[in-house]
């Protein structure tokens, strides 16, 4: 799960490997805040798979690649 300068850099880094998924850093930032916002809170409770899937769905990260199970 890495940051790259451009699609060209991703393609070169992949070599012959199958690409995964690419998003903007703005989407990543929204995802990070939705996913990790409560992580150090004393009231933290484990997220269910459904809660995590809903975060991905809300950000448009849908389709087989983004299915948690």
């Amino acid at each position: 799960m890495n940051l790259f300068r451009s699609e060209e850099h991703i393609a070169r880094w992949l070599g012959g490997r199958e690409p995964g998924a690419t998003t903007s850093v703005a989407t990543l930032c929204e995802l990070a805040h939705a996913w990790w916002d409560d992580r150090v809170s004393p009231e933290w409770q484990p997220h269910t798979r459904e809660q995590n899937q809903a975060i991905l769905d809300r950000l448009g990260l849908t389709g087989p690649f983004w299915q948690l199970a």
Binding site: L3, V25, A32, V40
Partner: protein, 140 residues
């Protein structure tokens, strides 16, 4: 001390001291290690299987990585790009992320202010499908 309380105290130590606790800093070492193993199995933290030391308190990395984050007047390591932004999110803080492009090796720096990144040109790539993230979380 139940497992959620152990987890809360483990994360509290990380945030307060900038490093993961040793078992004896949280209580009876055998009890703490047993609790950490249960939390590892529940994906609530990640242990080094060879040593039982904490490897990840996601989004924080306990060991040095390619993702460094400056937030709340301290440098942290994150496990990946997602976690690097996650450190700012978890600390509810602005921050600066420093890494390098895995392709060309050029430095990348990203500032997060008010939950917004300052460079929209960067891209985030995930190689492993979501269903397999925990097959090998260190690789993911």
């Amino acid at each position: 001390m139940d497992d959620l309380d152990l987890r809360r105290r483990t994360y509290g130590h990380m945030v307060g001291h900038g490093r993961a606790p040793r078992p004896e800093e949280l209580g009876d070492p055998a009890e703490v290690l047993a609790g950490w193993r249960r939390l590892h199995d529940a994906h609530a933290l990640v242990l080094n299987p060879a040593t039982d030391e904490i490897r990840m308190l996601n989004p924080f990395s306990v060991v040095p990585t390619a993702y460094r984050v400056h937030a709340r007047d301290r440098w942290w390591y994150a496990n990946c790009a997602w976690d690097a932004l996650g450190v700012c999110a978890a600390l509810h803080a602005d921050g600066r992320i420093e890494t390098s492009c895995p392709d060309c090796g050029e430095p990348i720096a990203l500032e997060v202010r008010g939950r917004q990144p300052d460079d929209d040109s960067l891209l985030f790539h995930v190689l492993v499908p979501a269903a397999h993230w925990w097959d090998d979380i260190v690789f993911t």
